[in-house]
Symmetry: C3
Subunit: 355 residues, 3 copies
């Protein structure tokens, strides 16, 4: 009845055997394996070189076994074996980045979620179209330097991890800007940042209802970024710039936060429109996703980015959060993935959550 994302052939092996939750040994792998074990599923860690030793320290989050590759892109060669063994690949930011979106898309192993989302997330222009179609408030985009009339952040295309971004509080400061490649200019919205961890299930009607299925809110965090977060301790940016120190925005960790309850109607409405639009555009963004935004002093939630898979901020909530505890005890995003897999299998709807 729902939208089939995976061809029947790709998921048929999972009818006969317990799924083996498979992901790269990084990013949010501890949580993913922990959640899968909690639900009685098998687990497999993809390691580049020898398996990382840190799993020794976390006995409840160790995968049952490892597949060691010399490089991540070799994974495709093991597709047949993985299929036979019941592997279901859980995509993470690191996994997709190291493998490359094209190679990931071509992988002939069941992937949790809709792999068509990759094309919409990896291209900033397409992502913006999607969000505009969903009528989501976003920071303004400036066409060129001369049209700037307020604070801006200038990002180079394909810049990794927030290095080389340029901040200006007014057009005056642009005198300092020496472009070194193609860039985009965004309004710098002043406010407080929230990263909202949602889960979209096309199978369940137990959450906040959307056109097909429902969404759940499993937690919230704020990202730590180096060096911007603690830069102020040294002095004002204007002076630091002269000392050759410029702000960077490299994610190093996460802190837990919650949002004013009166903002929940606003953010659920946004998330539902993003999901509904994704169904129209490419068949739906299934599973975990993150809405990343800024709350202004007027209590408007402006979305500056979405991540279309599990993000590392969910690692805070491996035993539940101030939101997921209202759904069920000990409900992490990792465990929620495992529950969705089990339900899809029990209801013979695997092709709606895998691709």
């Amino acid at each position: 009845m729902g939208i089939a994302l995976a061809p029947a052939a790709r998921v048929s092996a999972l009818r006969d055997r317990t799924p083996v939750v498979t992901t790269l040994c990084s990013h949010s792998s501890l949580q993913i394996f922990y959640g899968a074990r909690h639900e009685g599923l098998g687990t497999l860690g993809i390691a580049v070189g020898k398996p990382p030793r840190f799993y020794e320290a976390f006995p409840l989050a160790r995968p049952d076994r490892f597949l060691s590759l010399s490089k991540v892109t070799d994974l495709g060669r093991h597709a047949n074996t993985l299929q036979r063994e019941g592997a279901v690949v859980i995509p993470t930011g690191s996994f997709v980045e190291y493998m490359g979106p094209e190679a990931f898309d071509a992988l002939d192993v069941p992937v949790f979620g809709n792999r068509k989302v990759l094309a919409w997330e990896s291209d900033r222009e397409k992502e913006r179209q999607w969000l505009e179609k969903a009528e989501v408030p976003m920071p303004r985009k400036y066409r060129d330097l001369s049209s700037i009339d307020g604070p801006v952040i200038i990002k180079y295309h394909g810049a990794k991890g927030g290095k080389g971004f340029f901040l200006a509080k007014s057009p005056k400061e642009l005198g300092d800007f020496r472009p070194t490649g193609p860039y985009v200019i965004q309004e710098y919205v002043v406010g407080t940042r929230y990263y909202l961890h949602f889960f979209y299930s096309p199978l369940s009607e137990d959450g906040y209802r959307v056109r097909h299925g429902s969404i759940e809110l499993l937690g919230m965090d704020r990202r730590d970024e180096a060096n911007i977060d603690e830069l102020y301790k040294l002095g004002a940016q204007e002076g630091l710039r002269q000392a050759g120190i410029r702000p960077t925005f490299v994610v190093t960790g996460n802190v837990p936060v919650i949002l004013r309850e009166s903002l929940l109607p606003q953010v659920f409405d946004l998330a539902a429109r993003i999901v509904d639009t994704s169904v129209d555009l490419f068949g739906g963004m299934v599973g975990p996703f993150c809405v990343e935004g800024i709350v202004t002093e007027d209590l408007q939630f402006k979305v500056f980015e979405i991540s279309t898979r599990i993000v590392a901020g969910t690692n805070l909530f491996i035993s539940g959060s101030s939101y997921s505890d209202f759904i069920a005890p000990h409900l992490s995003t990792g465990r929620r993935i495992a529950l969705e897999l089990k339900r899809a299998r029990a209801e013979d709807r695997l092709s709606e959550v895998l691709s």
Copy 2:
């Protein structure tokens, strides 16, 4: 034996039937309903217009039913029905603000806590008298602009949500200040902020003893405020001011914190004096309250505000906190309210915790 706050007639209906925990569908309603359900009490959500849909996402925190009003102030008209059905109203900041303190005070339905506290909290002068009588260290108050000799924050009377506040690090910066209405001038204390979530029970002797009953510490948070919290990322305030960007202090969310253990004697002592003084002044501030202060580099806790009811920072701790876990597992403020109601009913002392 204790101090009766409610007339016997108002609470008599609660002898015959299970209390129905009733609050406005905002602020900390999820936690309040979740705690009440946990303790087997009924729950009723007051909605303005249609009930908010976000409860769909939180099955364990949904109220049993809703009362939809076209405006909050219509609540008074339903007083008889609510009384008969065993409603106990839990006041929150939003509830009192939307209804207006006078209308809230006049509501002929049992309210959890002492409604006389409203008059002492809503008037900044009276609140200051109360805290001074309790000998609580506070930021200095300046009589006029000419007496300022250090950093200050200037707040307009009745300014909502921290917009239009004026900060000056020294008298020199006051040249920029153009008053647009009556204001108060407070010393700006430099340090780290802590919001301490206490609960005062006139019934229990199991916590930190005060003259009548005892207090408990259920958690701590720090408020997120837009735009002040992340403003520094754009540059120094001095320059931002010239670019037309001024600090605002609108609460958007909360982060969990804990305090140095060596400061606990100091803050329990403060909280106990605030409670004891409240008994003398108006019969006592019953139930949850929040002591909001700044710890200076000399490890002095200076109180800049108290909230005399449940505050939204407690929403972080719906399944317990680094403090309440030392009292009982899964003890949120919402659940603590429900426990107090049940105990008061069992001991026939409802008039001491309701008004």
Copy 3:
């Protein structure tokens, strides 16, 4: 088989009776007593003067009884009694500071962990040698003012709690520096701070293996510091300095954080080398320790300090953390200490974890 730290005579009394976990009534005492009670051990609080009243508020973390002294240094006089009663002293920062490292070292009562670590921690030069031997990346140390070529923090010897530290973003700002005593000059590394709470067990092989035994990661926090943390709200430091307001770094509390999973291999490797080197240098740093560092925009973890015993940031995680939940439910550092004591006793290896 392992390294005996305590003479057999000192620990013999513990063979015949349940250990009594004993610590000073401050710092992390609630957690230590709570953990010990959870594991069925006795508890004793050392109070200076009357026992602090805040334990009234935390029934599950109250010690069984108190020993009231007029000053901490009187503890030595009670050594015989404490020995007979099965006391095991848990050192904390406050305990060692108030008693003095020499007196603490001379205490003839079993102490959890290796008291030889005191000499290596209390002397900044020796600590640096230890970390350099372990090949741990640290902020640079400048020999004199004229060699400074970037941002620095200048710390006076023996300065308590971060008062009087001097920050300069470039050599230019040193003109403001008027030394008032002997000092050290450290590179000021810009990035985000993480305080990693480890536990080293010479008995267990269940964690991340080191040469003798294994280490576990039980949590992470970031310290709140007054006034540096919220100083920026008043304006740029350059201007604040002119207004007579200087940054200080006094710890007032803690917030929970997690680290990017991809940094775990790096930090476990660092921690293991610190532990292995400690075995070579002085027989090993047994029990809880904290690696305190900064993650730079290049994702390098630079260690600016280690604490060789339980630190107050662990107080956040009295019921588990986003790391310890992967080991066992409800595993705090306090409880981990109690578990280690019980295991050592059951395996007759007390002299390897006590000194």
